[in-house]
């Protein structure tokens, strides 16, 4: 293997990953320096149930109108994020466990997932450009992040077979760039997401609002009220 690619796949990634880790740790420390609002009232519901429900909403498209009314958006979300995760995964597999990618079945599966993610990403780009309601909320970072992820997924698709030099160079060069850029961009939302869902879940769980009551659970609650619980 070319020495340049080897360094790019290994040492460069480690350096970039270290920078990312430092920035993320600093960011978490920075967030923790802000005092949280602490609820003092007696709870009506359960914090734990609220937090669990809040996190589980990601896997419950029916729990939100935004996804229950437009299931294709949820499918698109799932495919896109699954593709990104797969691409992240192969960025570790290719340099450290290259034998895994020798299996044609694995390569086929990887390419299928990433290919679907590419289509989902394309739909996202079109939507962001075509709809006025999306354009008004989009910053250059939103366009850039999405566009660059598409390019990255494109390289990942071709790099999956671990036999195309230039695609591998493109993939790992972009991965290194992402590792440094992401902590500063909107793509770092996954770092804040657990905090946001935790605090919202805790807050609404405390008040007995989460887990959200659905038509299906009404009977149980009505019975509880009838029994004076």
């Amino acid at each position: 293997m070319d020495e340049f690619l080897k360094i790019l796949e290994d040492q460069v990634q480690i350096v970039a990953l270290s920078i990312m880790a430092i920035v993320y740790i600093s960011k978490v420390i920075w967030i923790m320096r802000f005092k949280p609002f602490v609820e003092k009232t007696p709870a009506k519901g359960s914090h734990r149930a609220g937090i669990a429900y809040s996190f589980a909403t990601i896997a419950m498209p029916w729990s939100m109108e935004s996804s229950s009314k437009k299931p294709y958006k949820y499918i698109e979300f799932a495919l896109f994020h699954l593709g990104v995760l797969t691409a992240i995964l192969i960025s570790f597999i290719i340099p450290y466990w290259p034998q895994v990618m020798e299996s044609t079945a694995v390569v086929f599966l990887t390419r299928t997932i990433i290919g679907l993610a590419l289509i989902a990403g394309l739909i996202r780009i079109v939507r962001r450009i075509a709809f006025a309601s999306m354009r008004v909320i989009s910053s250059p970072d939103d366009y850039f992040s999405l566009f660059l992820l598409e390019v990255w997924l494109f390289f990942a698709f071709w790099a999956a077979a671990n036999n195309n030099y230039w695609m591998l160079v493109g993939f790992f060069a972009l991965t290194a760039f992402f590792l440094i850029y992401v902590p500063f961009s909107k793509i770092s939302h996954y770092l804040l997401w657990p905090f946001a869902r935790y605090y919202l879940g805790k807050h609404l769980g405390h008040r007995g609002v989460y887990p959200k009551i659905s038509e299906r659970s009404v009977r149980q609650v009505t019975n509880a009220i009838n029994q004076g619980v």
């Binding site: 802000f34 609002f37 003092k40 990601i58 939100m64 935004s66 910053s139 939302h189 959200k212 009404v218």
Partner: protein
């Protein structure tokens, strides 16, 4: 040393940034930073749904606040502001724009929050900005006026102690007459009761029916309860204005009086934001955690029904009823099933509204919107979504558990010409109550007792049918009626004949009712004339909430029924049934 951009900032803009920094806590920082602009919230907002204006997207509105965060807190935003949409607040015009967005195009209903995959609390973002704007006095006049009344008088409608006590006294007599029992009372400031009942000032000022309904239910179960003489307002404009200090002040007033009276529990009447504030927010704002539980009236009534203390006869409410979930109960308070349970026990036919509970659409009057008359047109436009939801139920009555919702639903029902009435859940329950106990001494129920004998009433309306209806009711009850069909005629008649009361329509050709109202209030000789506004116009809210003039003594939305009309007239003129 100040940078160039800081040196050209307005004083208010500089102060706004300072306040912004102070108000950032961990939850706010996270909500500001986590949005990915996915646009999933867009269609969950009633303002967007009704107008399809992209700038009504919750994400766009929150971004107007978030851009300040990005400029001053976000790491990339401080270096490359344009890249992430960071922008500073520099001028008073920027603050005015923020005011329009935060007060005029968001009811903080939290529907978008519940539909955000990231868990961004956009209502928290908007409320943060509202708090800053309120502190800078860049807020709608109605909000500032009500804030001032709550700070200075201790209740949102500026009701004096004297007026409060007189009204409760008068209501006691109404209750005695309705129940035929001289022992039926609105207990005032009684120590050691089970329940200290905190109410909405609207119940004292304009909607005594709901307080009578509560009192009737308490009477039916022989509850030991009391109204406090002080600290009786459960509402809290601190929630709407973002002023946490006011929020704490109002909570403290209520809590201290519960403790003074040694009540066993604090119960708030049917008021969405009042319940949320009192139970969930005020203890945090004030730092007072009472040992007594805080409950909503509906929770208590549920207990009465479950324990068999309260018997209901649903055949008394024959028309189909649907229920509107107030946002502050369903999305911020954890009350969704109690009102449904009570309605199912109290009415012949209950029809569910879809979507419902935490997914329900806002009535359009939340977040203090009813007190911001400058946004009435936008509010009513956004209310189209709720109107469609109501219409789809086919119900004749929409019950709800919040006075703000009652007002907003009444406005939208008239605006969209729906054939529906609005009622509080408690009123529906009270109508179905079966009272089994016999009064110690029966009080004869007085009907048609010519109670208006000796009173002259000026009826001002350009609709002949309305004039005929009002005149007939007043004359049937012994009153003398003077009629006027426009503003000029009304003022002339007023100066010549000096009536005891004037009913006033707001929408009339020539001089409008609002102009007549203001002219009377400005005139030293006429200013004390009691005015009962009977109108279908949203301008009415301005007269109630803006403090430029003393508010009307009574108001009712058209169409008005005879019972409500006479009750309000008796209240204004302080005439009990047994006069």
């Amino acid at each position: 040393m100040a940078s160039r951009s800081e040196s050209i900032k307005s004083d208010k803009a500089i102060k706004a940034i300072e306040l912004f920094r102070k108000r950032m806590n961990r939850q706010a920082i996270i909500s500001m930073g986590v949005c990915v602009h996915c646009g999933n919230c867009t269609e969950t907002c009633h303002y967007y749904q009704a107008t399809k204006d992209p700038k009504m997207s919750p994400s766009y509105k929150a971004d107007k606040v978030r851009k300040i965060y990005k400029k001053h807190f976000d790491w990339l935003g401080r270096v490359l502001p344009g890249w992430v949409g960071a922008k500073d607040i520099s001028t008073d015009a920027d603050l005015e724009e923020l005011k329009d967005i935060c007060f005029g195009s968001c009811t903080m209903c939290r529907r978008c929050t519940f539909n955000c995959p990231m868990g961004v609390d956009k209502a928290l973002i908007i409320r943060t900005a509202r708090g800053i704007l309120t502190e800078l006095k860049v807020a709608p006049q109605g909000i500032l006026d009500v804030n001032k009344d709550q700070w200075e008088v201790g209740n949102q409608m500026g009701v004096s102690d004297e007026e409060y006590l007189e009204t409760i006294d008068w209501l006691s007599e109404e209750l005695q007459n309705e129940l035929g029992d001289p022992d039926a009372k609105m207990p005032m400031d009684i120590p050691d009761c089970n329940i200290v009942y905190a109410i909405n000032p609207r119940e004292v000022k304009y909607a005594p029916m709901s307080l009578l309904a509560s009192a009737k239910i308490f009477y039916a179960v022989d509850e030991s309860w009391t109204l406090p003489a002080k600290g009786w307002d459960n509402t809290n404009f601190g929630l709407f204005s973002g002023d946490n200090a006011l929020g704490g002040h109002m909570g403290k007033l209520v809590f201290e009086n519960v403790q003074r009276l040694n009540g066993k529990m604090l119960v708030t009447s049917e008021c969405g934001h009042g319940y949320r504030s009192t139970k969930w927010e005020s203890p945090n704002w004030s730092g007072i955690i009472m040992k007594q539980p805080i409950l909503n009236f509906l929770e208590v009534v549920c207990d009465y029904v479950n324990s068999g203390r309260l018997k209901l006869d649903k055949s008394r409410n024959k028309e189909p009823v649907t229920y509107h979930d107030p946002c502050n109960y369903a999305r911020s308070g954890g009350i969704t099933e109690e009102p449904r349970f009570l309605l199912r026990q109290s009415v012949m036919e209950f029809r569910e509204m879809y979507p419902n509970r935490a997914d329900n659409w806002c009535c359009s009057g939340g977040g203090g919107a009813m007190s911001m008359s400058e946004y009435s047109k936008r509010r009513l436009e956004a209310a189209r979504i709720k109107a469609e939801q109501l219409k789809a139920t086919g119900a004749k009555i929409v019950a709800t558990a919040c006075h703000n919702c009652v007002d907003a639903l009444t406005d939208l029902i008239r605006h969209y010409k729906l054939n529906m009435k609005v009622s509080l859940v408690g009123e529906m329950v009270a109508n179905a109550v079966v009272i089994e106990k016999k009064p110690r001494v029966a009080v004869p129920v007085v009907r048609g007792d010519a109670f208006l004998k000796g009173y002259t009433i000026l009826v001002v309306d350009d609709e002949p049918d309305m004039v005929t209806f009002l005149s007939a009711v007043f004359e049937d009850n012994g009153g003398t009626v003077i009629k006027a069909s426009n503003g000029d005629e009304a003022l002339t008649a007023l100066r010549r004949q000096k009536p005891h009361l004037m009913t006033l329509d707001l929408s009339m050709p020539g001089k409008s009712g609002v102009e007549v109202f203001e002219e009377i209030r400005r005139d030293q000789k006429l200013t004390r004339l009691p005015i009962f506004v009977i109108s279908g116009q949203p301008e009415l809210r301005k007269l109630i909430y803006d403090n430029s003039f003393a508010p009307p003594e009574g108001y009712a939305d058209k169409p008005i029924d005879e019972e409500r009309l006479l009750l309000t007239v008796r209240k204004i003129l302080n005439i009990p049934h047994r006069s």
